[in-house]
């Protein structure tokens, strides 16, 4: 049962990483999930779960920051604040938002 909870957390965190478009980190998350569910000794499981929770919270924080950045871009593009990220016709879209 605990294992399933871990997997749920991992999948949801993975979803947010996808939202932030960081493929390296996404791969890390997938590998971490696979290692924990398949190879890790059960004694270590709690540690893995805690790491997953902390990592998830950090990703949530990053998501909020990305949302703020997105809003910043919108303001700039609708000429409501001076151009900063979109100066010189740049679209301001980043490769990832971490």
């Amino acid at each position: 049962m605990l294992m399933e909870w871990f997997l749920i957390l991992a999948i949801l965190t993975g979803s947010l990483i996808v939202l932030l478009m960081h493929w390296g980190l996404f791969l890390l998350q997938v590998v971490f999930a696979v290692v924990v569910t398949s190879f890790l000794p059960t004694d270590w499981f709690w540690g893995a779960l805690i790491i997953q929770v902390i990592f998830g919270l950090w990703i949530i924080r990053q998501t909020f920051q990305a949302a703020w950045y997105q809003y910043q871009l919108e303001l700039e593009k609708t000429q409501r604040i001076p151009q900063h990220y979109t100066e010189g016709g740049r679209s301001g879209i980043k490769k990832n938002f971490l």
Partner: protein
């Protein structure tokens, strides 16, 4: 900041509780429906009891009716909550802005304040309504649906959950494509806007060169670019919608196939399979809501932050805790070593000493920008002095309440502001309690009655921003009428720089003379002819008060004033 945000819910606690609990019940019913279906298929169908099935269906329908009603409540009361909070904030903001001092308005653009009061608050209202509710409901339905699915069959539930990142990936990718398309569009609309602005502000040039066709051609080019960009954006939008639709259906199909396979192996009942498929739809709905919230949250919160920034600005000029409310001043005004600057950089007034006796008419003359208007704005405390003191009747003006001080001073400003409304309302601005007779009397004294008689609806003619435009001279007389109604013991006249025709000027002069009777009057004059009768003339230059004395005395002195006089006199000769 969140805590402060939520404090605005307090007056509407009941509304919030009703709205929120209705939303929760709707979500629970939404979650319960697939269970009911499962029960119907797995338990009731095999028994082939038609009556029972009809009864259950009727019950289900009743529950749906309840859910419909609650959804109506959520949509209606939820928005009501939002607009209530928005209205409270708007009122608070407006009150606060009205309390601000002149310096605040010197440094803040009107458009800026307008957008705080309208757009920002609109976003805040949306967040106030959708934020807590949607967030809670989304989390609740998502976990609820998943938990139930997990209890039906963990494997299938995890398979459905794995589809979530894929869905998110698709949404993200589509968003980027949309963003790029919108970016192009904004870029192009900016081009169109600039073109229109140019063509309209430069219309006189355009027409005098008869270049209308050329302008149209350029405009059509930009307009065409904008059209192309917008069409592309729509194409991306259509693609986004259809691919997200496809993805959700794909999820259903996958669940169906895996579920069928599990069911062959005896791990899943038919009803469970059906409810599972129904739950996949419940599961993905919150994703939409969360992504909408991710957009709404920064918007609303940034708006709220700006809202608080303005509220945090204390009005610069405040009543002293021990301020007294003065009544009927005589107008014995004294400047003691007054220093003043607008911005700490450039000292506008330095060490000004001045004595104005009750009932006296004092004229201020001097070059433009010397500080005449500034001296007069210090008396009603539109700005506070940086050093020294101003007293009226021996009392420091900072020891009087703002309201009582300003009620004793009448000002006819360089540029008269008219409010949208009728002529009557605009005159009555000087004294809201004035009767019609008093208003007509004031208009007569200001020589405005003949002008009003010629207006289409007399005193009820609409003027101001969206009404009849009055001429400069008429506006000034209206301002004089206002001041007659206010009837203050101290009067400040800041004469308009723009020249009026001699006839109008003579009329205004007459009404001003009438207005100045029995009052302490400060006149800022640009035409020396208008101050011949002043008791005293004060010559203000960039260095401060250069000369003081009666008109004739100053002429005889052959100083700054005599020079000014000579220049104007020669001009008139031309």
């Amino acid at each position: 900041m969140l805590k402060q945000f939520f404090s605005y819910y307090k007056p509407h606690k009941r509304l919030f509780i009703i709205d929120f609990s209705s939303a929760v019940i709707v979500a629970i019913l939404e979650l319960a429906f697939p269970i009911a279906v499962q029960w119907l298929i797995d338990e009731l169908l095999p028994e082939r009891d038609w009556n029972l099935i009809v009864t259950v269906s009727i019950l289900l329908f009743a529950v749906y009716l309840l859910s419909t009603f609650l959804q109506y409540v959520v949509s209606y009361l939820g928005h009501k909550l939002g607009i209530n909070i928005e209205t409270d904030m708007r009122e608070q903001l407006f009150t606060h802005v009205q309390r601000q001092s002149f310096r605040f308005f010197d440094n803040t653009k009107t458009g800026h304040i307008m957008s705080r009061i309208t757009n920002d608050l609109f976003d805040i209202g949306e967040l106030a309504h959708h934020g807590p509710e949607d967030f809670f409901i989304a989390i609740m339905t998502f976990t609820g649906a998943f938990w139930i699915m997990f209890n039906i069959n963990p494997t299938l539930a995890l398979i459905a959950l794995v589809m979530v990142p894929l869905l998110v990936a698709l949404v993200t990718y589509c968003n980027i494509a949309m963003n790029k398309a919108w970016h192009n569009m904004y870029h192009n609309i900016a081009g169109v806007n600039a073109r229109v602005e140019d063509a309209v502000s430069g219309v006189r040039v355009v027409q005098s060169f008869t270049n209308e066709d050329f302008e149209l051609e350029r405009f059509n080019h930009d307009n065409g670019l904008f059209r192309k960009a917008k069409i592309k954006a729509y194409k991306v939008m259509a693609g986004t919608h259809s691919s997200i639709y496809m993805m959700t259906r794909l999820l259903t199909v996958i669940v169906l196939v895996v579920g069928a396979w599990l069911s062959f192996n005896g791990d899943l009942k038919y009803g469970e399979l059906v409810s599972f498929v129904l739950y996949t739809n419940v599961l993905i709905k919150p994703i939409d809501k969360i992504s909408a919230l991710l957009e709404l949250y920064p918007k609303g919160m940034a708006g709220f932050r700006r809202f608080q920034e303005i509220l945090a600005k204390e009005p610069e000029i405040k009543n002293d805790p021990n301020a007294i409310s003065v009544s009927k001043l005589t107008g014995d005004i004294q400047f003691n070593q007054v220093n003043f600057s607008y911005d700490d950089q450039q000292q506008v007034l330095e060490n000004i000493n001045l004595q104005i006796n009750p009932g006296e008419t004092v004229a201020f003359v001097g070059p433009s920008g010397a500080g005449k208007t500034t001296i007069c704005s210090l008396i009603p405390r539109f700005y506070d002095v940086n050093g020294g003191a101003i007293t009226i009747d021996g009392i420091d003006i900072r020891k009087m309440t703002k309201k009582s001080l300003r009620s004793q001073i009448g000002i006819v400003q360089q540029d008269v502001f008219l409010f949208t409304g009728t002529v009557r309302e605009n005159i009555a601005y000087g004294n809201q309690q004035a009767t019609d007779e008093e208003i007509i009397d004031a208009a007569k004294k200001a020589h405005l009655d003949q002008v009003i008689a010629k207006l289409p609806a007399g005193y009820d003619t609409q003027i101001g921003e969206r009404g009849l435009k009055l001429s400069g001279g008429q506006k000034q007389r209206l301002a004089i009428a206002r001041t007659f109604l206010k009837n203050p013991p101290i009067l400040i006249l800041d004469e308009a720089t723009s020249a009026l025709d001699t006839e109008t000027e003579r009329m205004i002069q007459q009404s001003l003379d009438l207005l100045a009777e029995n009052r302490t009057t400060l006149v800022i004059a640009h035409r020396l002819a208008t101050i011949k009768d002043a008791d005293r003339v004060v010559v203000v230059t960039n260095e401060g008060i250069a000369e003081e004395g009666s008109y004739q005395e100053l002429l005889a002195k052959d100083g700054v004033f005599a020079r000014l006089h000579k220049i104007q006199y020669e001009k008139n000769q031309d």
